[in-house]
């Protein structure tokens, strides 16, 4: 199925957010996530099933004012 991660299309196996992140190289990283504009806590990622067309946001710490 196709998901959009930070606007970029990726084809991933149907499954959970945690599995998709692992397959796309985010395993073990300091990140926070949202799906379709809603925050998904790290602990909820293995229980969050993704659907075709879902929009996933992945953010990391950055400099800020």
């Amino acid at each position: 199925m196709r998901i959009f991660l930070n606007d970029d299309a990726h084809d991933v196996e149907p499954g959970t957010l945690a599995a998709a992140l692992e397959s796309l190289g985010f395993g073990g990283r300091k990140i926070a996530t949202a799906v379709n504009g809603r925050f998904v806590a790290a602990t909820a990622r293995p229980k969050t099933a993704l659907a075709d067309g879902d929009r996933v946001e992945v953010v990391a710490p950055m400099q800020g004012g």
Partner: protein, 256 residues
């Protein structure tokens, strides 16, 4: 001072726009800041900049204040705050809901709504707001125990655009910690804010884009300390006419 956390330094420093991490580190040390602001941005599967920045921030051992910079809606700001809370493991959030792209003026209506939602959810909100008294009242009602009015638009270096408004805000909220956030350009701006009785200042660009950021950070730290001391020493009131500082009684009469 802020949500029960006592700090010695009254200068909060942003971490953006420095020429290098080494310069940023020197500036933070020179500023004496105990709180630094941070943000979060998208990162790709191969990117590592967020991870290295996180290691750097952890190595400083300072308290972090994550922001919701760039958010234009309540929903965006609330979701960003949740991501920041998890990422940085803090209830503190510098809440920005931007209403205008040219001035980066806060959307105060969205700000109040987001502040209420986040406060009810256990966040300790530091709202980036204008000096508007009624908006400030609404933010306090929404649960904010700190207010951060702008001095001038972010990054503008214009200093305190509305001294009257900032003074009125201080008088209206004697017991709420007030921080001038944004718009400061030179240390005298920070000193002026502290002389008004503000509890602290938050700045970033004025230090980051100075020719020598570490030296400018030190200069701001001195100005904040000077302004605070001046406030506590109760400055005299300005007046229109001259008053001789040297007594005239006993002056020699020499004719002429």
């Amino acid at each position: 001072m802020f949500y029960g956390v006592e700090l010695r330094s009254r200068l909060l420093l942003g971490t953006a726009r420095y020429p290098s991490p080494a310069v940023l580190e020197r500036a933070i040390k020179a500023s004496g800041a105990e709180v630094v602001t941070v943000s979060l941005r998208r990162e790709g599967g191969s990117g590592r900049s967020g991870q290295s920045f996180w290691s750097f921030i952890q190595s400083l051992g300072l308290r972090v204040l994550p922001n919701t910079a760039g958010c234009h809606s309540v929903k965006e700001a609330v979701t960003t705050a949740h991501m920041a809370r998890e990422l940085f493991d803090t209830k503190w959030i510098k809440l920005e809901v931007i209403g205008d792209d040219d001035t980066l003026q806060p959307d105060v209506f969205g700000l109040v709504e987001a502040a209420r939602i986040l406060s009810e959810d256990g966040f300790e909100v530091f709202p980036y707001t204008t000096e508007d008294l009624v908006v400030a009242d609404r933010l306090v009602e929404a649960g904010c125990k700190v207010l951060m009015p702008w001095g001038a638009p972010i990054g503008s270096a214009r200093g305190l655009n509305n001294v009257y408004g900032l003074r009125a805000l201080r008088a209206h909220f004697p017991d709420i910690p007030l921080v001038v956030d944004a718009g400061l350009g030179v240390p005298s701006h920070a000193a002026a804010a502290m002389e008004l009785g503000y509890d602290a200042v938050l700045l970033n660009t004025a230090v980051a884009e100075a020719g020598d950021p570490a030296e400018m950070a030190r200069a701001f730290a001195l100005a904040v300390e000077a302004g605070r001391a001046a406030h506590l020493a109760q400055p005299m009131e300005p007046r229109d006419m001259a008053v001789p500082s040297t007594p005239v009684i006993g002056k020699a009469v020499l004719g002429g």
